[in-house]
């Protein structure tokens, strides 16, 4: 059956913090149903404590054609990275 419900993108935040992470997409008739579907589809294995859903059509994304002017200039700016500090061994996720 072909669905004419709009596409939603789903973001889930894990129980130990960090950020909301994109986990996938789904179809739903409205925002509320999208949230419920996201709960059923993407938190079945105890993955999350918080869900965001957003209509895919509402996302403005960068285009592959603009890859070079968008991202290439940052590749040679080593001074922008915090590589000149000593990081303690027990600090993860840097």
């Amino acid at each position: 059956m072909r669905s004419d419900w709009p596409l939603y993108e789903v973001f889930v935040r894990g129980k130990r913090g960090l950020n909301h992470v994109h986990v996938g997409s789904l179809h739903a008739a409205d925002d509320e149903m999208a949230l419920h579907h996201a709960r059923d589809l993407y938190t079945r294995r105890n993955e999350g404590v918080s869900i965001w859903v957003v209509k895919a059509a509402d996302i403005t994304a960068s285009s592959p054609d603009e890859k070079d002017p968008f991202f290439a200039p940052s590749a040679d700016k080593v001074y922008r990275h915090p590589t000149f500090y000593d990081i303690p061994d027990d600090v993860p996720h840097m």
């Binding site: 894990g14 130990r16 960090l18 789904l26 179809h27 579907h37 079945r44 027990d90 993860p92």
Partner: protein
Amino acid sequence: MVFDNAYEAITEENDSRWAFGTGFTDPLEGVDTSVPSGVDAGELEAYCLMLGDDALVFSHRLQEWCTNAPELEDEVAIANIALDLLGQARLLLARAGERGEDSYAFFRGEHEFRNVRLAELPHGDFGELIAALLVFSTWRLALLRRLTESRDPVLAAIAAKGVKEVTYHRDYAAQWTVRLGDGTDHSRERMAAGLATGWPYVDELFTPHEIEVSLAASGVAVNPAESRAEFDEVLAQVLRAATLDVPEVPGIPGVSGRTGRDGVHTESMGYLLAELQSVARADPEATW
């Protein structure tokens, strides 16, 4: 969970650091599983079978929607609900007695199943499914909430786990009831027809069996008649939001007053059990 520093919570030794975690919990952890004093083991067995069979049989009906749901997303939602109920059934049948959950599920005859007839009603359309799920989960939630106070700590723990699950089931059904009832003329008609199909089996849900009465008196079980007012209130609220009327259809009485709780079922029950039990009966020694 308390840690000496913020990073300890997300180190290798700590399972809970996983953003997409495992973190399983055993609902019966630390619970005294001996039969409470003064409780008749036979009555406790019968009561566990009643609540367990409700969940097992309705779960089977929900499983029949796998590959048949109107949308992929709802198929997963319905399967989740079926799995929740199957989990409740396993705990309750295991509590019923030494015979074991598989033996109860696969090697009892139709007359030995004590589920209410609403749980076994044949696979209908989506409106019938949502109506049955709304009625079943509203009734069961009211019952499980009261059962969390049971004098049997195992039943209380199973009920506490179930309350969280069935709250969501009821919410899912209520959302669809409102969506269909307050939708198009066609969806409204189908939702109303679904309610009318299941409604004749509502009175049975609140008619206590003598074992429920006896165990309720000793604080182990719940007398389902107590939650009728709560059920009526919730249904009225949902149906009002759905712009639907509470159905006025007469109940279908049992045979000489005997219904599902007495092992007297509708015609479709035999077919359901034939499918549910066929594999286990074809190869009783099989393990998997």
